[in-house]
Each structure stands twice: as C-alpha cells, then as structure tokens.
C-alpha cells in the first residue's frame, strides 16, 4: 500500500461545504440521518481517516452537531460554491485541501488519495485537480491549493461565482472518467442528493454497501509454498481496496509477511518486489487503491511470469 496516501497528512486539509439552501430537499442535507447519525458526521468520520485538519463551512445561521472540526460560517451567505471554497480554504492549515459538499454519502478515499497525488503530475505542479464525470467538471469533489484564495477573492469581488473561471486562471489538472473508474467504477463519489427521492435511493444504496464482501486470494508459486495453501477466503468491507485485502491476507497468513508481503508501521501490507497481483485472471494490478468487488479472485504470483 502507498503509505503516503494512507496516513493522515498535516499538509493537507479537507473542507466540507454545508451552507447550501437545501430548498428542494426541504431540510438541511447535512443532517439527513444515515444509520441514525447525521450525514455530516459520517463524512467527517470518513475524511478524518486521511485528514487531520477538517473545516466545515456553514451558512451564517446554520446549526450543526458538535464535530471535531474547525467550523466557519460564510461571511456573506449563499454566494455559491466559490464563496464556500474561499472561506473554507482560508480557514485551513494545510497547503492544499480536498473540498466536498455535505450531501455525498459515498466518498471513496482511494479516489481522494489519487486526486491529491495529481497536484504533482509528471513533474508539473497544479493548483487545482478537478474530476470530469458525466461530461461535467466536479468542483465540489476537487483539490485546491490554498494559494488560489486570492483568485477566489477576486472572483467574489467581481461576482464571477462559477468555479470554472478559476480553472481558466490557474494550472488545473482535469481527471478523466477513465482515471476515475480505476478507483470508483460506478462514480459513487459523485452521487449527491437534492430531493427526498434522492435521499431514499441513497439510503437503499447505503444498506447495500454496508454488507461486507467476500473475495478469494489464489496463491501461486513461492507464495503458495510459503502459506502452505493455495486459496484463502477473505471477508472485506464493501469498499475494500487491494491494499486492504493484502493487509487482511497478512493477518490470515502471517507466514507471507517478510517474504511475499511487507507491512509498514501502521500494519498496512503490500506486495514485495518480485510479486504481482492479477484480479480474476484478467487485470494485472499493483495500485493499492484498486477497488475490489464481491467475488473477486486475487491471484498472487511472481512478477517474473514466463521464462
């Protein structure tokens, strides 16, 4: 697993914009209950796995439950996402922040890790990393450097309230759907809620994703001899990644640690050099963030196949 992406970085922050009007929903979207807990509490809990500094931007009169975050209020209410973005980034301690809205129940952490990693892409620095999904830029699922704040302030002063103006001004990396699908095949990250019907559909999806998935690890070559078995059944969380699976595999087959698997200080396991992984006999993968699906078979084999 890529430890850089999996540990909490003090240089990076997260911003949740919760100050929207929620007019079609009829009640504050941040407080919609999932498993008896407000959605915003779930979001903070999930983002805190990656970010130690989380800022929530609320409307001037908005009431939120007590959360381990820095709470700021829009100075001027309802200026759209640019306003929230600007006030949120100003309040962060990091050099860059992942920014999201408060109505997205299915954030995918590996995908967020990938977005953050793209601030420096092929040796080029970007100020913004924004995904493109269903032919639209997704400004509220994007990463911004704090250095863009002056540009946002200029936009607010000029009443240019669409984030896209910023992308024309500063170096912006647009992440393609093909890249997104590597981490989030169904685009769950972008599933937001505007109506009661959306909420009911999200609740149904939430229940589906709460069910653990089963995967099988098939061991070949030295891995098989070392583990003294050819197959290991794993039960994983619904949104498990390859890295998660390897970590669980290390727990199930400790003999593999040190020869086939390496574990970092946090206990996250990864494949040693000399080994690779193939999913279902189809795709060779090494990226720890690769999402797994129920029923997947993970083949662990020598990276020197053939010969």
């Amino acid at each position: 697993m890529d430890t850089q992406a999996s540990t909490r970085s003090p240089a990076l922050s997260a911003v949740i914009l919760s100050g929207g009007k929620s007019s079609r929903m009829g009640r504050p979207k941040a407080l919609l209950p999932f498993d008896g807990k407000p959605l915003i509490a779930h979001l903070v809990q999930r983002l805190s796995q990656r970010f130690s500094d989380i800022v929530v931007v609320a409307a001037p009169d908005q009431t939120l439950p007590s959360l381990p975050v820095t709470l700021v209020h829009d100075t001027v209410a309802y200026q759209g996402p640019v306003g929230g973005l600007c006030y949120g980034l100003q309040a962060t301690r990091g050099t860059a922040a992942f920014v999201t809205s408060c109505d997205v129940p299915f954030l995918q952490l590996p995908f967020i890790d990938y977005l953050v990693s793209q601030l420096d892409h092929h040796g080029r620095d970007y100020d913004v990393v924004v995904p493109v999904w269903q032919d639209r830029l997704q400004p509220l699922h994007a990463v911004y450097r704090r250095s863009v704040v002056p540009h946002l302030q200029e936009q607010l002063a000029a009443q240019r309230l669409r984030p896209v103006y910023l992308y024309d001004t500063v170096p912006t990396r647009k992440v393609s759907p093909a890249e997104i699908k590597r981490f989030d095949p169904e685009g769950l990250s972008f599933l937001n809620m505007n109506t009661q019907a959306d909420y009911q559909a999200a609740l149904a999806q939430w229940r589906t994703l709460s069910v653990p998935i089963s995967c099988t690890v098939e061991l070949f070559g030295v891995a098989r001899l070392t583990a003294r078995t050819s197959r290991v059944a794993l039960t994983l969380s619904a949104e498990a990644t390859l890295g998660d699976a390897l970590t669980v595999l290390g727990v199930e087959c400790p003999a593999l640690l040190g020869s086939v698997l390496s574990a970092d200080e946090a206990g996250h396991a990864s494949l040693q050099s000399g080994y690779t992984c193939n999913i279902n006999g189809q795709d060779f993968v090494r990226d720890a963030h690769t999402r797994l699906r129920a029923g997947d078979s993970l083949l662990i084999l020598s990276s020197d196949a053939g010969g």
């Binding site: 070949f220 070559g221 030295v222 050819s230 006999g281 020197d304 196949a305 053939g306 010969g307």
Partner: protein, 600 residues
Amino acid sequence: MYGFHGRLLRIDLTTQSYTWQDIESSRLTAVLGGVGLGASLLYDHAPPGAEPFSADNPLIFTSAPLVGTGLTTTAKYAVVTKSPLTGFIADSLSSSFFALELKRVGVDALVITGAAGQPTYLLITDDGVEFRTAAHLTGLSAQETEERIRHAERTEKGAEARVAAIGRAGENLVRFATLSNEGRHAGRGGVGAVFGAKKLKAVALRGHCRVAVADTGAVERIAATLRERSVGPQTAKYREIGTVANLAVFDRLGSLPTYNFQNTPFVQAEALSGESFVTNGFSQTHGCAACTIRCERLFRSLSGEAQRLEYETLFAFGPLCGIEEPDAVLRAARLCDRYGLDTISTGGTIAWAAECADKGLWPELRETGLSFGNAEAILALIPDIAHRRGVGAALAEGSRLAATRIGAEAESFAMHVKGMELPGYEPRSLKTMALGLAVSPRGACHNRSGAYEADFSGQVDRLQADAGRGALVAASEDFSAVLDSLIVCKFLRKCFDDFYSDTAHLMSAVTGWDYTAAGLKQVGERINTLKKLFNMREGWQPEDDWLPPRLLTEPLPSGVAQGVGLTPDELRLMIQSYYAARGWNEQGLITEEKKREFGL
C-alpha cells in the same frame, strides 16, 4: 586483449585439419560473443544456400566475454548453425562446465565444417585438435557418451575433459535433435542433427588458458552485487520451484495451450503444477557451474530415478499432449534426454499427430493407439522418433514437414512458426507474445525475446492487439540479443538496476574498451539485423513471419480468455508495427540504409 582471446579455431572434419584465425576486434565490439558472434560468423562462414545437412553448413560454438569472469550465471556458450528444422538460423545456448572449458582452450569460437567419413569425436586442447573414432559410442546417449569420453581423455595428472555430445536422435538426423552436456541441452533448432550429419558424435574440451579482465576490482564489485541480488526475491521463483512454476499460473490466466492448442485451461493443471511436484514428492535443486540461482529441479519418478524437469517439457507432454499423470511426464522427459530430443518439438509434433489420429487423417497411426492423454502410446513414440521407426520416421521431420505428407487439413493445425514448434505460451491470450513468435528469426521461440513480459505485467492489454506491440517486441529482442551475447542467464535479468547501463559498465571493466548503454542497445539491434539478413539470404519470405492458421481462425473456447481470438488483420497490424519499429520496409526486408547504419 581483455575478455576475449581474439581468435577462433577452424576445424575441417573432411580433411581432418584445423587452423587458428584471428578475430578482428572490430567484430567483437560490434557483436560481443555468444549468439551475436555466432550469427556474425555464420553469415560469413556458411556458403549462401548451403543445405543444413551438407558438409558446408558450419557448426559454430561461441564463448563470450563474461564467461570465466566469476560473474554468476555466465557459464554459458552458444552453438549456431543453419537449422535443419527451419532452414534459417539456429542459435542455441547451453551452460555449465563445458562453457568454462570452451574459454580455456584459448579461442572465442570453434567453426566446424566438412563431414567425417566415420563416427568421430573431437578432442580440442590448447595445442590443437585430435580426431578420434566414435564408432564404439554409436547409439549411446549423450550422458553415456560424455562419461566414456571423460574417462578416456582423463590425463595422467587427472585433468578432466568437458564433453558435449548427441544421442541417437542426432545420429539419425532427427530435425529437432539436441546437443547435451552435463544434463544441459542446446535444445532448439536441431543442432544435434547437424552433428549427426557430420558424423560428429561429440566435442571434448580440455584447456588451460585464462583470459584477464581489464579492471579486476570493478568486475569483482559488480559480481558481488549481482551475486547478492541473485538470491533475492526477484529470483525466488526459480530457486524455490524452478520454471515448472509457470504451469499453474499460465493455466489460470488462460495462457496454457492444451491438446495441440485446441483449448485452455487444463483439467489436471493442479496435479501437474510445479507447486504440486515440489510439495508432493522428492525434489532436488541443481545449478550450472558458477551460478547462484540454481534453478534446476530434479524430481523422482515412480521408478526412483531423479529427472530434471522444466516448464516447457511439462507443458509439451502434459497439457499439450493431454497426459495427466506427473510420472508419465517425467518418463517422457527422461526418454527425450536419453535420445537427445528437443522436448518442445517432440511434444508438439506428437500432439499434432494425436490430433491427426483423432480426426482419422493418418491411418498408420491406428496401430500405435495414439490419442490425446494416452501416455503409453505417446511414450512409445519417443524412441520411434529417435530411431526413425514406423510413423516415427515422419515425425522425426517435425510437424511442418510431416504435415505436408498428410495433407492440407493436417497442415492447418501443425503448430509451428518457420517449422519450429510453438512453446507453451497461448498466443491468442498473449498478443505481444503472438507477435514475438511470428517474427522471431529462429521460429516459434520464447527465448530470443521476452515478449510475454509485456503481456504478464499489465503494461498492455494482453487480450487486444494494437500497433504499439512492434516496438515492444523489437526492444525485447534487442535486450535478449545482448543478454545472450554477453552471456548472462535471462533469469538474472531483473537483478540489474538499469540493464544497459550496468552491463556497459561491466563490459568496460572486463574488456577495457569503452561501452555505453546506447552502444549496447545498438549492438542488440545489430545482432537481430544480422540474423534477419542471414534468413533473407537463405530464402526468407514475408509469409514466414506468420502464425499457424488455427490461431487465426479459432477463438479460445473456454477459460478466462473465452471467445478471444486473433484475426489475420490484427496480426498484420502488429507485424507492420514491428517492421516499422525496426526501420525495415513493409515487406519486412532490411533496407540498404539500415545495412549501412550497422556496417553490414
């Protein structure tokens, strides 16, 4: 001169004479040793159009600059000739003490021409060549021959000769006969049959010459690093299981050809897997001289004999012929070693015959009882091939020539390229490898390029063909050409930080000449250009760079790659991309400009 002797020994079997000749240093820097030097000498010493079994066809042994330096995995030699199986270049490698002794007799190459009147073996020392009768060795296996000659040629002071010999198959001109030494084989392309045509049973070597290196300290430092890495995770597969580890993985990935390439996967893959061989029975590791990887695995058969087994042998008699019993595969391997037969071509040719039997295309096969999976009938054919008895006489010609006798339908499932039977890599689910097999100068070969590496790494979509594969295959061929000319075992290839930079540094330290990474890359391309030039001179046509019809008409019927095929258009696209990457014209011919670029 460092690293090289700078001379070769020409031996004429017809006149029983020999002479030493200098090798220009410009040639050595241009093509190194091993396969490169062999290809270069073959081009110059073989008369154009020489028949493979004629006295004119030279049999060339080459040493290499890294041999004898103490670097792990470098005790190797090449034997190069015009192949009786393909009619094109045959460049086979073998290894161990014979390779070290070749360097000690004070030459970089042996060029053997002519033909003896009677069975003969050669004793080559620093002082010259002795032509000895081999009448008493006729019919013996390579191993028995080796033991007899070593005993006979031991000096009073106990100095041993090292011997490479052929078995019965070579004597009988089986077109895929091997040359063997110390249990290792120069396996592919029928060099053993060229020995047989010259009535040459063996070559024995006994020398004392040493070659100095230019910078001993630097060579020792590099050697120490490689030695350490050679026992790390990059080679664990070879050390712990051997190449037989490929079978289970290939099966799972839909890349294990079964039943003469009619299907994949194989129902008994687990029982035949390398993991099962290691877990379920006796196994013993063995290594070549000066090798720290020690990839060889010997397994004990039910009769108690220890038998070396490699993936390609396991594939060729297991899934390809449908044999399900591990012990039967070990027995087949033992028979091939005894008679001196290339296991891939033997298994491939028998698998083709089994399909002929299934389809009722060859009535004479009825008497043999041959069918897929009938281990006893398959095993019985091996000595018949070596002795050219019954249907074995036709099978001894290889699947291409045998099929021409049976008819067009049988030709459509003769699984060869340029006459050489395919190794155990399913081309339809390994598209880069498909191209590598089609264009390889020596026929369907998995050693002169590692094209499969792109398929097995996720670097490409292995199930799809595209125009990017040509550059990958060309680069892989060039890499292998350098590897095979230094010579370094390919199992060490992942132990380098940067192969070309590291080996340029190494070659500079060994020879004292200035090598660069870019220069060595160019050497690889030059060697492959040379091989192609030889093939062009010997009648290569564009249709020779092609795959068997089955692969281009039948999608895989099952497994993870079910429904995946390879169309002629897809193959053509990849071949054109390969010619473009090579800078050749659309017909695959080398342009005058390219020849000039390489000084050819």
